[in-house]
């Protein structure tokens, strides 16, 4: 498959390094790569054009920094520009002083409105509100039924009924007043932006319910059409913001950038999976990293922070680097990692990871991890500390004890040995330094065994974060539901 933009620019960077400064020709070459990557990510052509102009200005307007290669320099500018476009304006959700606060969802067929409606209602519920869902999609067979099932799952009432969608929506709001609900989320039928009758209908729904917030629900895998769609919906409804869905697909999600660029309204929420809890506030920096193909290290770190036991991790990470890591440590780590979620999901967020490795991770299921755990648990404490004492007879004992095969035990031991060696080499070379610090980035082992290789994403990420000040990845982190917006210059 194609390289990520980050790797391409890094490569470009090394060929330019010796020259020390970025000539116009170098910049053109780099911007051509950026253009291809943005188009590959489905960013709309005119949005790409204005984006490249902005990057050019950004690069021209600042002096070259000694510590960055020209390639990294461009990555940094691109990353900053992405964050500016994706995150510049932010939305303030306040609740109506005379409830209910009405939220209207609109979008194309199949964008994921119904699921998003339920997720949004759940989000409001988590904020301590009492939402009501209104099923005004009377077009698609069983859409209301789908909403009812989802509503039951999250414990939110769903109202719908007969009549036109406009009548149903209006009645829904009345019903919320009667029931004393303070938020109403209205799901509407999917419609094409060029379908005049249906666009008129959604405008009528809007007029009848006077929504405080109108969100366009847009599928992250949308192509060039994202702009036409976003513009048409914005003209019809004066959108307050965008909800991006299907961000769990293996797509760069340039449509989000396109829609954001055209509508000029913020992306507020992101939906990242089929499950109802896969929904959160949108993080521009993470989307920027995705488009750049840098992985989503920030989400990963945040997830780690949320779920991992800091003391356990710190202790064995230290031993890992010094090469004195034991199978006990490994077991402890395994359990930490499992608390974070599925390996496949985590690897998707990891920068600098090869496609093969991602695929391998996606294939690791719980059963497999259980087997690994069983094997280690079948060892004596001494064996876990020093696997070199494990001879043939011990191996078959372990295999029997764990209900696996000698082959599996061998494989585990061999990999463990290789990993230890690899980590020791790494530990000797570089002490891990955090992005945001001055030093070198954290090395991430690669499957190929060229363990000391530094993933390009991290370096660029580190550069990006340095540029944005020393706050590091704490930025934009949720604290009790409150979000600090990314500051712009």
């Amino acid at each position: 498959m194609f390289d990520t933009l980050t790797t391409r620019l890094e490569r470009l960077g090394s060929s330019l390094r010796s020259r020390g400064r970025l000539s116009d020709a170098d910049l053109d070459e780099a911007l051509a790569e950026v253009r291809a990557a943005l188009l590959e990510a489905d960013v709309e052509l005119s949005v790409v054009r204005s984006f490249l102009e902005a990057v050019r200005e950004r690069v021209a307007g600042s002096s070259l920094n000694q510590s960055l290669t020209p390639g990294q320099y461009v990555i940094k500018a691109v990353h900053e520009q992405l964050i500016e476009v994706l995150g510049g304006t932010t939305l303030k959700i306040t609740y109506a002083s005379r409830p209910p606060t009405v939220v209207l969802l609109a979008g194309l067929q199949g964008a994921g409105k119904t699921t998003a409606a339920a997720k949004l209602a759940q989000w409001f519920k988590q904020q301590g509100r009492q939402p009501l869902l209104v099923g005004a999609d009377l077009q698609r067979p069983a859409a209301v039924e789908q909403l009812r099932v989802l509503g039951a799952q999250i414990g939110v009432d769903v109202v719908s009924g007969s009549g036109t969608p406009v009548e149903v929506a209006r009645r829904g709001v009345d019903e919320a007043v009667r029931l004393g609900r303070d938020v109403v989320v209205i799901d509407t039928a999917g419609r094409l932006a060029i379908d005049e009758a249906l666009m008129r209908e959604v405008r009528e729904i809007s007029a009848a319910t006077a929504p405080h917030y109108t969100f366009l629900v847009i599928d992250a895998v949308t192509g060039q059409d994202a702009v036409a769609t976003a513009r048409a919906f914005h003209e019809a409804l004066a959108l307050s913001g965008v909800i991006a869905t299907k961000l769990d697909y293996d797509a760069r999600g340039g449509a989000v950038l396109s829609a954001r660029g055209v509508v000029g309204r913020p992306v507020v929420f992101a939906s990242t999976g089929e499950k109802l809890q896969d929904f959160d506030l949108f993080h521009p920096d993470r989307m920027a990293s995705r488009i750049l193909g840098m992985g989503d290290a920030l989400s990963l770190i945040e997830q780690a922070e949320r779920t991992m036991d800091a003391a356990v991790v710190a202790e064995s990470a230290g031993r890992l680097m010094s090469g004195t890591f034991t199978l006990d440590d490994f077991l402890a780590q395994l359990n930490q990692v499992r608390r974070m979620g599925s390996l496949g999901g985590l690897m998707r967020l990891m920068p600098g990871v090869t496609k093969e490795m991602r695929a391998a991770a996606a294939n690791v299921d719980d059963g497999e991890l259980n087997r690994v755990e069983a094997i280690i648990r079948s060892m004596t404490p001494r064996e876990r500390r020093d696997p070199s004492v494990i001879d043939g007879s011990r191996r078959s004992r372990i295999a029997r004890g764990s209900g696996t095969t000698v082959n599996a035990v061998n494989q585990l031991l061999r990999q463990f040995g290789e990993m230890r060696k690899m980590m020791r080499q790494m530990g000797n070379g570089t002490a891990p330094v955090m992005p945001g610090g001055r030093g070198r980035p954290v090395p991430t082992p690669r499957q190929t065994g060229s363990g000391a290789e530094v993933p390009a994403g991290f370096e660029a990420l580190a550069a990006g974060m340095r540029a944005r000040g020393s706050r590091g990845p704490a930025k934009g982190k949720k604290k009790g539901g409150r979000v600090t917006p990314p500051k712009q210059r």
Binding site: A36, L39, D42, L45, V47, S50, F51, T89, T90, L91, K92, Q109, G128, P141, A142, R148, V149, L150, L192, A193, V221, T222, G223, Q224, D225, A228, D248, Y249, A251, R252, A255, G261, G264, V268, E302, A304, V313, A314, S316, Q333, Q336, V337, G344, M350, A360, V364, D365, Q415, E418, M419, P432, M434, S470, G472, A474, K479, G480, G481, V483, P485
Partner: protein, 349 residues
């Protein structure tokens, strides 16, 4: 088990990173004041920024200065023989805007450049595109003697699988075929209800199970029903699934195996693609082809403004023919794919 250890090490490193970051933050940042229990503000402090809105280039049509299609415009450029960069730029823009994708667009532009355009660039471009779509598109609807023909529908979430089944069922029953529908999407809420409503409209039998049931067993039951009633074709719905999950694709593999077992015989596996989808559609096609041996594509939502140009890339690279296109939400809004018409619509951008 090969990659587990490397993966875990990678994750440990991240974990360690998180810890250190957290520590540093503790050093630097004073502890946050008690967070208010209920945020009145979701995201605050609007920051003014230059809006891209104004910077967006005029539409292609405006750029070309007429309401005529690019086709005409390109023709008006009057180029014969060698092609100027200007002309090739217009061609590139047309293709990119139709979601044909960078790689395929570059290949086509390069081909135009070397080949020239003795009959004019419009004709040359049309020929190349038409050439990319040059393959058989017949649809198999008969199984071997004594077997039930099965059409299996696969694709990502929300592309139009269930609707397409409803439309095709309508078409088949109108031709006098006896059709059974299998509600193999046991995952999404009310998916079976949706299919059942379509079955009612089309006059087709629907076999369904409870939500969360094994999709394979639904298809198995449906095959049994079809065989015992002497029905001649079974249309099997499946749950929408992302194409980057091996587990979900494995599940699909299993479903396909069940559908292909006596008395069933899978004669077509349709990948349903949404015309509004961009470059990810190529990934979808690649993954579903590998997992479910896709034999044809149904391109839906061509009634919108999206052109679905990515199928050019898919046909060139993966050689999966588009067989039907969806042009609306009604029972009759499905037509066989017409390559000539499709190429024209791409060029009329």
């Amino acid at each position: 088990m090969i990659a587990i250890i490397a993966i875990i090490v990678a994750l440990i490193v991240v974990g360690a990173l998180a810890v250190v970051v957290a520590r540093r933050r503790q050093h630097r940042v004073p502890p946050p004041l008690a967070a208010p229990p209920m945020p009145e503000v979701l995201v605050s402090e609007p920051v003014p920024r230059p809006v891209l809105e104004d910077a967006v280039a005029p539409s292609l049509r405006q750029r070309l200065g007429s309401s005529r299609g690019v086709f005409d415009r390109v023709r008006a450029l009057g180029t014969r023989g060698a092609l100027s960069d200007d002309v090739l730029d217009v061609v590139e823009e047309v293709l990119l805007r139709s979601d044909v994708g960078v790689t395929t667009t570059d290949a086509i532009v390069a081909q135009l450049r070397t080949q020239g355009a003795p009959e004019g660039v419009a004709t040359a471009l049309r020929d190349i595109l038409r050439g990319s779509l040059d393959r058989a598109r017949d649809v198999r609807d008969q199984a071997d003697e004594g077997r039930v023909a099965v059409w299996l529908f696969v694709g990502v979430n929300g592309v139009g699988k269930t609707t397409t089944i409803g439309k095709l069922a309508t078409r088949l029953t109108a031709q006098g075929r006896s059709v059974v529908l299998a509600a193999g999407d046991t995952f999404r809420a009310a998916a079976a209800d949706q299919l059942a409503l379509w079955g009612e409209r089309a006059g087709a039998d629907v076999v369904r199970a409870t939500e969360g049931a094994d999709p394979g067993s639904v298809i198995h039951d449906a095959l049994g029903r079809a065989a015992s009633r002497g029905a001649d074709i079974l249309l099997a719905d499946t749950a929408g699934r992302r194409a980057n999950s091996t587990n979900l694709l494995d599940e699909l593999r299993k479903v396909r195996r069940v559908a292909d077992r006596e008395p069933g015989e899978v004669v077509e596996t349709f990948l349903v693609l949404d015309a509004t989808t961009g470059q990810n559609a190529l990934n979808q096609a690649r993954e579903f082809l590998a997992a479910a041996a896709v034999t044809g594509i149904v391109l839906t939502k061509l009634d919108g403004t999206a052109r679905g140009g990515i199928v050019i890339a898919i046909e060139r690279e993966l050689e999966i023919p588009v067989k039907f296109v969806g042009v609306g939400e009604g029972a009759h809004d499905l037509v066989p794919f017409d390559p000539d018409g499709f190429v024209d619509s791409l060029l009329e951008a």
